[in-house]
Symmetry: C2
């Protein structure tokens, strides 16, 4: 019988830490999670990541020596070569934290670090919606917009490991200011926070809308989810806000379809749960804006792995490093 290693995938998010023991065919053998509590600082968070990994090892009945590798997906930007975080927006105070080394020392298992969106793209490519596809764009639309590029069958990193910033391509050069300092980024127009910001503007300007009722008149409670709920109840303003944002998302995807000529565009993240209100306009705008041949080649589908994309992708990151001897140390 061939040696089939177990791998631990850890998904570090601004809100949750998720960990799983994954086998060689991408089955989750054990799963656990913790709150991130990022405000307690890097050391406390990393200890919780190590705890979560130990918990899933124990659940799976594995000793340390039975786990071949650990993969960690973390919010970027990262220096993946050095295994170090570079002040991620969702992890305040994490400037140059040697995350890879600290996890590796804590668990005593070789560890590889990857950008969270790249890890999720790998997860969907190996075990989810993108199985068997060589040219795939993965986009995650939630508070922000991230992405990962599977080109010619492998994850594309670029010159210094920073490729794939789909959320920070300019769609409307004179558009609203983005968190990155640029104007008119896809993220500033089509993300959950962009939708919430637009809804707050509408409510503040006194336009009558269900959004205000659902938020009990407190604009701080307005989220993209709440706007989607109001739209589902038939609120015209909410529908307008959502459809404008999804048209921008489609515009961004059409550019990527012209640029990458992918077979598949996989859309995940919290906002993908609104379903046809997202996929309908995105497919329509790609057809309208992209070249016919490229548009016809590109299917647009929902991500399949949900909350598990991160841990499965992180495990695949470790698996690739293991088999290709290319651990990023």
């Amino acid at each position: 019988m061939a040696y089939e290693p177990f791998i631990i995938g850890i998904d570090l998010g601004g809100t949750n830490i998720r960990a799983a023991v994954v086998d060689h065919i991408g089955e989750i053998i054990a799963y656990g999670h913790r709150q991130t509590l990022a405000n307690e600082g890097p050391r406390a968070v990393i200890d919780r990541m190590i705890d979560a990994a130990r918990e899933v090892m124990a659940k799976a009945g594995l000793a340390q020596c039975q786990v071949a590798a650990v993969g960690v997906g973390s919010p970027g930007p990262l220096d993946i070569e050095a295994g170090v975080t570079l002040s991620p927006a969702t992890l305040p105070g994490w400037d140059r934290v040697p995350l890879r080394q600290l996890i590796e020392e804590g668990l005593g298992i070789p560890t590889t670090l990857e950008n969270d969106a790249n890890a999720a793209a790998l997860g969907e490519h190996c075990f989810g919606a993108g199985r068997g596809v060589d040219h795939m764009i993965y986009v995650t639309v939630s508070t922000g917009i991230g992405g990962g590029l599977i080109l010619d069958g492998t994850l594309y990193h670029g010159a210094t490991g920073m490729a794939g910033e789909i959320g920070h391509t300019t769609i409307l050069a004179d558009g609203p200011l983005c968190g990155c300092g640029n104007r008119g980024c896809l993220e500033a127009l089509a993300s959950g926070s962009a939708i919430a910001r637009r809804a707050r503007e509408i409510v503040t300007s006194g336009v009558p809308t269900r959004i205000a009722n659902l938020a009990n008149g407190n604009i701080d409670l307005i989220t993209a989810k709440l706007v989607a709920d109001a739209a589902s109840e038939g609120d015209v303003e909410a529908e307008k806000i959502l459809s404008e944002a999804m048209d921008y998302l489609g515009t961004g995807m059409a550019s990527l379809v012209n640029l990458f000529n992918p077979e598949l565009v996989v859309i995940g993240g919290g906002l993908a749960h609104i379903g046809e209100r997202l996929f309908g306009p995105v497919r329509h705008i790609i057809k309208q804006r992209a070249f016919l041949a490229q548009a016809q080649a590109a299917r647009v589908v929902p991500a399949e792995l949900g909350d598990h994309a991160g841990v499965l992708g992180a495990s695949e990151v470790a698996s690739i490093a293991l088999f290709h001897g290319m651990g990023n140390k």
Copy 2:
């Protein structure tokens, strides 16, 4: 002594046909050109391509059996697998012309077909500004805007050979109509024809500018070159038109820098001859709009091969097909 094959590169453009015999280190041994005269139809043009190839073989003193392969760069869209043109905008009436087969039969030498911008990108990568670089974006800015992507050391084709349409990424979602039917494409904002169109609008609206004088009052004579000349003479309106277009070009490049994390952005095409009036704003806007790490990683340089990029790139296309046994037949 090892066998060092000679290769013929043919560059088919809307205006000129160029052909060259190229040796294994990218030296041009013999060079020739013809007018395309596209209005005479595919058969006449293809005969001129074959004539041009025979002329350079004769100049180089080579018999047919001494030429290992022929590479052809043609305006797209193409079906490169089938070796067939798909109604290129600059070659009216070329719908499904079996260009690869007709050249191969005409010369009796194995032939490979590639998109012209991809061929030029390969030329710059192998023999020009991009030597030794693994992650390079090539952009050609002339009447239109085309491009080619060198990712992880090789030309990226996408799922159906149509990747790299840099000119048709959306920069300004509500911007001017593009030839492709989309709105606010980079090509509609920053190409030579976009600059000329904007200048015609300004002149027609009666704003006083040197552009009108240089065109002898005939707006049909207004070209991007003429706008650049007026700007060189200090004309404020011409400077405004150019600088707005180059800011859009920079915006497009900043998006690509965030997306691809390249080491190098190579800009060629007729408009690159205006030099600092192009490269200054493009470098400035990348610094302003892209992420710091990505912007720092990406040098922006002029193409080096000029009119020879096409034939050198076409020869490299044939060379790759020859050595990898991947001729697109």
